[in-house]
Amino acid sequence: MSPNDRTDPLARKKQEFQLLQDVSARINATLQLEQIYAIALETLADLFGFEHALLFLLDASGEKLVVVASRGYEGHELGGEVPVGTGVPGMVAKKRRFLHMDNVGRQRSYLAAQRRSMVESGRSPEIGASFRVPELDGVQSQIAIPLLANDELIGVVSVESRKPRRFTEDDQVLIAIVANQTASAIRSARLHAELMQTNRELEERVRARTAELETKLQLAEEFLQDANRRVEGPLLGDSPAIVDLRAAIARCAANDDAVLIVGPHGAGKEATARAIHAQSKRARGAFVHVHCPQLTSEDATRLFGSALQPQSDGAAKSKFDLAHGGTLYLEGMEELEIELQVHVGKALQRLDAQRQSGVPFEPDVRVLVGARRDLRVEVQEARFDLELHRRLLRQQIIVPSLRERPEDIPVLAEHFVRRHALELGKDVASIAQPSMRLLQGYRWPGNVRELRHVIERAVVLSRGATLEIDEESLNEGIVFGTYRLVKQIASGGMGEVWLGRHALLARPAAVKLIRTTGIDGQKERELKARFRREAQVTADLRSPHTVQLYDFGISDTGTFYYVMELLSGMDLAAMVRRFGPLPAERVIMLLQQACTSLIEAHERGLVHRDIKPANLFVTALGPNYDFLKVLDFGTVKTTHEDTSEVTLQGAVAGTPAYMAPELVLGKSEIDARADLYSLGCSAYWMLTGQLVFEAENASGMFMHHVNTPPRAPSGVVETPVPRELDELVLRCLAKTREDRPASAAELRECLGRVACAADWTEERARSWWTLHAPDVLSGQATPREDTP
């Protein structure tokens, strides 16, 4: 008995119930839409004996139905469309209600007759376009059910017959059950399909992202390899200097203490730091490189602040935090403002204390500090924090210049040739012997970095398997006006001093460049203004004891520079540091020369304001030994102008260890006697090898200048200091300028009256230079060994 057999209602109900159970189990067991359609149509046929059925789904626009499955049509209707609101299925979709019609054919016939009648009576324009709805030809009975899931219309099922057929209310309930199950199954299958599609898209995105990350990782590895190659380069060689350096690196790598790495520009300080990191137990951690001169005050406070107070969760990480478990390399520490150096010192102190406690902590960072200058000078002149310096001195590495390890030049050069040839895909195997001799004979002011650049250029230009070095490339230097920069001689608060050579005259000169890196626009303008003033003022002075200015200007890159006479010798800061205090008679002779320079400047209404040993340069000029030149009129001012015009906004001009009290106190009227105070401080240094006052920072030094009575030089050293000179120095150091000599001329005259004034002879001077610095006499010494 089939379910549509109406003779036994009870049996029919049982069969219907069984059928519904079956369809429920089958339709919910699959997520394949085609299977769901087939089960739904088959069930309707079994329940009601319909041989034809169509399953429509609402398309994405929600405006039309599309046939997705059929039964009894041999697939002819698949893909057929009907707008929502048209025909039986369209009306069911529109009204979302069941519709049963058992006289479709007759109703159509009646409508057709009406239509013909209208056409015959000329009312055709009132008739709209007819639409061919997918359905069974000659259909008489039709039942259409909306497929609703969670009140969402999914589609319509239409079952059709060519015979008249009526449905009971029970039939309608059954049809509704099947339709609901079908709709629910279709919805689940669609959601599953959407999820699968989303999953595929996500997988595709993950694949794409993974590929992107792999590319980035590959790049990172290439960068790392490049960094390693850079590490490798400068440390290659077998010279005693590099062997010692490698041994020092190994020693430092074995502990976690801070290391001070000192060396000239381009010698390999960063390579040394990286090598320490790579050989240490922190090798798998990060190596974070911080260029201190580029740090703003805010950056530096945040950087070192996080070492003292770890960042809370969610806060932006500082480089200190990022270096946790690794190494932080602070390059150019000497350029950091002294107030911020104090932070570094505190950070190191905290790291030491935490390590000693043995308890894990964050950020656990090993700090390496790079400096291009000897920090002792900076400390003496109160530009570097004493406590930090003491802490750093516990472990110091000196990186030798390339000039100190010439035997390494061939191996370094060949290494760079191989590396750059490989990078450029060139077949360059060796360096021609004459070229190698050229490389070995060159002074390499830019050290290993310059060697690498020279080789890079040569490899780029090479045409054969043997590399030729053009001699010109070694002397090329950087062009500033009519001068080429050959090598850096010194660097200081205001900038750098380079050995330069005139392009046509071949005359050597000192070229001073203003440093603007890491300086904001306002400060840069102020610095340049100060630089320009120095150039203009110096150019106007004619004293032989004032450094001569050849030229000044602004380069194509905006760097301000001036060209001075090149002096062979050393400044008094370096001289005393190397050879100890000077005899009184020599000090008198040098002070007199300084006075001669200042007399002219003061007569023109100019105050130097930065007189100090580092700005008093002693040279051999022709037959004259111990010939003194006053340098650096960078902080000069006229006695008529306001101090603020030539000093950096918010800063005090001058060097703390040598500043007159009135300069410290910021008094507006500064006169020549401020220079005499500084000269007194310089005399003190020359006679004793010590500063007038010792302080841990600039503020402490300022306090001493204003409040502390100085001790007489004779009370500080055992070497004899004539009483008159002792008193004269103390007069210069008087807190009140009225108590100082009235002028440089008066001071020079007083110095001449000291009993031993004439005891320092030309012969003694020549002997001293011959004995202590013969290279200066031969003109081969570094023109200026140190710098303010």
Partner: protein
């Protein structure tokens, strides 16, 4: 007048797709005959007729609520004649919706939607019903 109960047997005949004949009469006694495509079974005592475009019929029914309806049973070879009385009109609700949906389903596919517009479902009470065997009016 009292309403009678229609027999179950007339139910399949009412809306069998064969036009029915409706006779109305004006207040002056002038009769009018028209053809209906659909007669709906509302309950045992009521039928619903579609009010589409029968201006004269409507006017008559509003003046004189009594009418005569003849539906034909081709399979049973008989006519059913119903005496009916106009009760009220519905422009919404399940009866109206069902009638409108059936009309629109057919008309929409043949471009007749704008013409076969259901204005109201007019509900009539059945006051008498009579079967006339062997006389299917459709043969006439």
């Amino acid at each position: 007048m009292t309403t009678v109960q229609m027999p179950e047997a007339v139910k399949p005949v009412l809306n069998n797709g064969i036009p029915a004949i409706l006779v109305t009469c004006s207040a002056e006694g002038v009769p009018n005959t028209t053809i209906l495509s659909q007669v709906y079974w509302v309950d045992e005592g009521h039928v619903a007729l579609s009010f589409q475009f029968f201006n004269k019929t409507v006017r008559n029914v509003r003046e004189n609520p009594y009418a005569s309806l003849c539906v034909m049973d081709l399979e049973g070879y008989a006519d059913w004649v119903l005496q009916i009385r106009y009760d009220h009109s519905e422009t919404e609700g399940p009866i109206f919706d069902e009638m409108e949906m059936q009309i629109e389903a057919i008309a929409s596919a043949s471009g007749m939607s704008g013409i076969f517009v259901l204005r109201a479902a007019d509900i009539y009470s059945v006051e008498s019903i009579r079967k006339i065997d062997g006389r299917p009016s459709a043969r006439v």
